[in-house]
Amino acid sequence: MILGEYSTPEAIASMHHTLGLDLPIGDQYLRFVRNLVTHGDTGASIISGTSARELIADRAPVTLLLIVMASFLAILLSLLLAMLAATNKDKLLDHLIRIFPTITLGMPVFWVGLLLILLFGVRLRWFPVGGVGEGWTGMLHSLILPAITVAFTQIPTLVRSLRAQMLEVLESDFLVTLKAAGIPSRVILLRHVLRNSALPTLMLLGVNISYLIGGTLVVEQVFGIKGIGSLLFSSISKRDFPVIQGIALYCAIAVVIISLLVEMASWWLDPRTKGKQ
């Protein structure tokens, strides 16, 4: 008789032994720490026996690509929308753009994903409904919808802050100086306003990065992408703790690295911090 289920207790039991999970808890912990420090690993998967680090490394590229694409899209779209809103303050366009975050803030990411899949995947067939395509182009193509979905969750906060930031810059004294000096408004907008408001937005993105990663995990599930997110869900349902720990650890490391990068970027971009040295 076959159990209509997906994993065997016997396999787990034998795996437990090879992994030393039957050792006393103190020894297990020592083993864990030693692995962590020497190999950057949280141990071997109790299901497949492969090391958690390898499993994660296998899945990481897709997730990373997705995160990069999503951040890129989020920044690009937010800049665009915020610029349109700020330069058309209190006009119809501005109101529309301002309503947008209010509406989308309460949209669960899976719901957005489902709607996009139904519309662009199943109905219009513009993008694959899920999975990851072959090769670079296939991969990029199949990640567009998920990236939009993740970006969608970031755009409301970004647009909001960027718009406020731009308005502040637009009202600032130095802009009056530049305007009074007769510099074309296109140049002002692109060279001065954008630059001055991009920095805080980048910082905000740095703060939100862990939300972005979290959103990515859920979105992967909705789009059936075999990245870190689906690894997490399957590991959880199999109680594969080394892998879960590994994912948590590497996510945290990723967040820290990205925050550091953002900080460095802001040091590099902002002369005010340089001036204080």
Binding site: G4, E5, P9, S48, V122, V129, G130, K238
Partner: protein
Amino acid sequence: SGSNTGSSPNSAASPSQSADGGKPATGGTFTYGRPAAVNSFDLHNQITSNNAFAIDKVFEPLVAFDNKGEIVDWLSKSHNISKDGLTYTFVLRDGLKFSNGTEVTAQDAVFSIERHLKVGGPLAIAAQVVSVKAQDAKTLVITLKEPYTPFISELSNFSNGIIPNNFGGVSEEEFLKKPIGTGPFVVEKWDPAGDVTFTKNTNYWQEGKPYIDKLVYKLIEDDSQAINQLKAGEVDAIESLALQNANELKAGTATAVLTNGSWVTEQLFFNTLDQHFSDVHVRRALALAIDRNGLTQALTFGFAKPANSLLPPAIPYNTNDTIKALNYDVNEAKAELAKSKFPSGFSTKLLIASGNSARAQEAQIIQNAAKSIGINIEIETVELATFRERFFKYDFAAMLNSGQADSPEANSILAFQTDPNGFSKSYWTHYTNEEVTKLLYEGQKTPDGESRGEIYAKLQQILADEVPYIPLYFPDILVGARSSVNGLVVLPNGSLRFEDVQLKK
């Protein structure tokens, strides 16, 4: 007793293939969406479908069942069971080769069965085997200590597939990473937490088959995602299609639903060690309180039959139409409960695994039904691993689960669900009834025929009266596929045969 000559395994082929009669379309990659990854090819140690349905593509048993559930010769050209039911003789097909090109000999079969006997495993060989011998290069003889009628059908199980003697000369571990068998497909690429890619076995004994070049098992955990991918044509078929989605796919022009009855019984299990459910009156009361017809109708959309007895209608010796079951009657249910130790009701918990929406709905129907007679049920949803841990430890009061036969044999289900001494302890209900146990062993020794039927009818009636589990319905095994797919064979255990699949160019 009787012998079986090598009937053609092709009897299972789909009508469309024979219809055009011309040369079959060959080549192409068939992508099959599945909800769980293949994490082991160790046929003797596996029990779950995610692995079973990959193992049976690589390893094949001596005998197999076809899509009607009939036992047919498979790797054996013919087989013979002695009159006393103690000696089994198999003659292997001519020119049978493993995928690496080496000949299959009787010694390989001996090694395979002996390893299974040694390992035991979750699907251990229950017959008392005295010896397994290779009479000559092509003839295998198995001798039993006492008759065991289900033996032949149990041999058709994926766990009795034939592997090369001594693992073909490599270590066990290495072999299981790169398995070699006689099956139509060969593992090319395998991610234990992801996809499996098979290529066609060019040495396959069924001439010219399989028609497709590649078979990909694509992991799609989310069922709505699976359906969407099928609709968008990103996969050619999807496994374990949920019943509630079937009509939608059936209605679509690009998609179709394939089914072939089933060997599955959806059931509500009671822990008979539980303080409440050890009382037979409580169990009977609950059985009377559940409207199985309504439940089936609401949950299965015409893809299931309400269950009266334990054995599915596709299994021989089932008594679904003749049995006297406890049918829906709230008043009688209340009266039954009044006879119990808890006449005014009680509170208890119902354990279910997360991730199965039909079962979650089912649980709510049962919760509602129980409430109508004064039993308060709290639904406890835990993830699958915990779920299994819990019921293996009898740490539940009641749970929803299903029983599925893996061969067309009444014993397959009955032994698993009634034997208090077996691995599963009456499917972890711990139900113990001496009479039932006696009937079970008797049935195993009785050769097929009317008397075996009588034994099983009696057994099933006892189960229906004492309800250690309430059979709810027999769901069809459903597979969603693109309409363009031809020759896909759905077996009643839920596995597919891809040998005859042809992809439209």
